[in-house]
């Protein structure tokens, strides 16, 4: 306040235009915060507030009835020392992520590269490959998947047509159940493919021409022109795919009937969190699981950004 009183008259003299600008600034502040009101409210009530509450609850024993009882680090201690299902679910999600994200990205990039070579019917191919991404997360497709990979399902029916007779239920066998969900995720490579296609179009043709003149073959052109030019898009796609994979829930819920079975083989982390919270009503524990997820996603994103600092090419000057 004191400094304000001292500097104000001086600055007013020094810069005659200062006062109206300041008034405009104030007007902008009012307008800005008026426009921001819904988001600020939402952030406080729906996002930020619940985050803090969740942190608090993670240190309590709370069943939704009664009031939360402070138990310190007990939830976290239990998680890391005695809870086998916690590790099982973390392993399921991480396996799913590590297997399916590279498969999705490689398929998407491969298809985008092929389509970008100027084939006819690009629009049709693009549409066909994209449609699964729109519906892949729906309950209807999860139901379809149950039937495709069931013991008397479509896959085994097709196999018997070509002479391989088996009645293995792919979703009923712990070793393969998770991979039916990986297939479901890979089936949805189209969304990433479209982003790659857009990225590929931004690569200047001159670079390819120059590379060709220098004697670079297809593989070399891909490695030395396409990949570096596309690296920011790759980072974006991998990041979004990863964050999505961490939160996978619907298909696993439908395919395993909410159990995460057989033998916890599709017990995705989020499914376990849901079970602890809304089946066992162990709300404090579920909140602790949520915070661990937050930390894991944060660390994974950080690692990715660290890696990308060396691998991603943002143009000449940077």
């Amino acid at each position: 306040m004191v400094t304000d009183a001292i500097t104000r008259p001086v600055t007013r003299q020094a810069t005659p235009g200062h006062r109206p600008r300041r008034r405009a600034g104030r007007r902008n502040n009012i307008a800005g915060y008026l426009f921001m009101t819904p988001w600020l409210l939402g952030f406080a009530v729906i996002v930020g507030g619940p985050m803090l509450v969740s942190l608090y609850l993670s240190f309590t024993d709370y069943s939704l009835l009664g009031s939360p009882e402070w138990i310190g680090w007990d939830n976290y201690v239990q998680m890391f020392t005695t809870d086998d299902r916690f590790f099982a679910s973390l392993a399921v999600t991480v396996t799913y992520l590590v297997v399916s994200v590279p498969l999705v990205q490689v398929s998407a990039l491969a298809l985008a590269t092929i389509l970008n070579r100027g084939l006819r019917g690009l629009v049709i191919y693009r549409t066909v490959f994209y449609i699964p991404s729109l519906i892949g997360g729906s309950v209807a497709i999860a139901i379809l998947w149950r039937f495709v990979f069931a013991g008397d399902g479509l896959l085994n029916g097709l196999l018997s047509v070509v002479g391989v007779s088996t009645s293995t239920s792919w979703i009923g066998t712990p070793d393969s159940a998770l991979y039916t969900l990986v297939v479901l995720n890979v089936w949805q490579f189209g969304a990433a493919m479209i982003i790659y296609l857009a990225g590929l179009r931004q690569v200047p043709a001159e670079l390819y021409e120059a590379a060709t003149i220098d004697g670079a073959g297809t593989v070399r052109r891909f490695r030395s022109v396409t990949l570096p030019m596309l690296s920011p898009v790759i980072l974006f796609n991998v990041l979004m795919n990863m964050v999505g994979a961490f939160q996978a829930f619907n298909s696993a819920y439908i395919i395993s009937n909410g159990t995460g079975g057989p033998a916890d083989s599709t017990l995705f982390y989020t499914l376990y969190l849901y079970q602890r919270g809304f089946v066992d009503f162990d709300m404090g524990y579920a909140c602790a699981l949520g915070w661990i997820l937050l930390v894991v996603v944060g660390l994974a994103a950080l690692t990715l950004f660290r890696l990308s600092r060396r691998l991603v090419f943002y143009g000449e000057e940077s």
Partner: protein, 298 residues
């Protein structure tokens, strides 16, 4: 605008790249591979469509055509619905929720995006960083407190838990998408309007919004599809069968039809996919460009 130019550039580039060294047999092989892949990917969908018209006894037939097993009983059984509530009711509920979510998202996200893109207010950079942070926030951290909050407000068995978060612009992805789009609109236009005495509200409604139709359309279409497919929110908040949305009704169908009436389950699954496919086909061009320019995941 930018979309148009990149498309034109892409086209001419493609022409040169076709001329450069891609031999006819190679092109033929590429088409063959792509068509084979497309058929493989669509086979399960086509099979489900076929199976929805097949008698339950022949449901596991891997063929596509129902043939002499053709029946409409799957649709008849399915449309009869769950515990006396016809399936149309679930479709109507889903439509209502989705349309409300679209309206809420359009309104709230565009207002917020305008502030971020066009108004210089204090601490804007900090808030923007916070908003970007919420983009990657796993939703499950907020789950239980949100559930407690909405329950305390007695919002279970209403559609408020679907719509109110959207009215409060918590769908950060669309805020971000619109900010990017608004920023690309030349500032001269609104500066001219400002000289003519327009305030922010009028610049927003008369200039920015009309110029942003593609981005708004992308927001609307994706919000519709996400809300239509949303399974988690109804799973948490809806217990009254009459209020069920389609995904929750389908899930309840699995339980009631276990061991029988697969035809009905397939028939209703097919019906549930139609609105999404319809919206996609109707707005295909807008959508694909929207994803391409913003990097949305479907």
């Amino acid at each position: 605008m930018t979309v148009l130019t990149t498309r034109a550039a892409g086209r001419s580039r493609r022409r040169t790249s076709t001329l450069r060294g891609t031999t006819p047999p190679k092109v033929f092989l590429s088409h063959l591979g792509l068509i084979a892949l497309g058929i493989t990917m669509f086979y399960p969908l086509a099979w489900m469509l076929g199976a929805s018209f097949r008698a339950d006894s022949r449901i596991n037939d891997p063929g596509l055509w129902p043939g002499d097993a053709f029946t409409l009983s799957g649709y008849a059984t399915g449309l009869a619905g769950l515990s006396g509530v016809p399936f149309w009711r679930f479709i109507a509920n889903s439509l209502l929720v989705s349309v409300l979510c679209v309206a809420a998202n359009l309104l709230a996200c565009s207002i917020t995006a305008y502030a971020f893109a066009r108004i210089d207010f204090r601490f804007k950079r900090i808030w923007f960083a916070v908003m970007l942070g919420t983009l990657m926030l796993p939703h499950h951290v907020l789950l239980i407190p949100q559930y407690m909050l909405f329950r305390a407000a007695e919002w279970n068995n209403t559609y408020l838990p679907f719509v109110v978060p959207k009215l409060l612009a918590t769908d950060a992805f669309f805020v971000f998408l619109l900010v990017q789009f608004f920023r690309a609109i030349p500032r001269d236009i609104d500066e001219a309007a400002q000289v003519d005495g327009c305030g922010h509200f009028r610049i927003f409604t008369r200039i920015i919004l009309p110029l942003s139709k593609p981005a708004l359309a992308t927001t609307a279409i994706f919000t519709f599809i996400y809300s239509w497919n949303d399974f988690f929110t109804p799973l948490l908040y809806l217990t009254d069968t009459r209020l069920y949305t389609v995904p929750l009704a389908l899930r309840a169908f699995i339980d009631t039809t276990s061991g029988s009436a697969f035809g009905a389950l397939f028939a209703m699954s097919v019906l549930s996919l139609l609105p999404v496919l319809g919206v996609f086909i109707a707005f295909q061009k807008l959508l694909v460009e929207g994803i391409a320019t913003t990097g949305l995941k479907g």
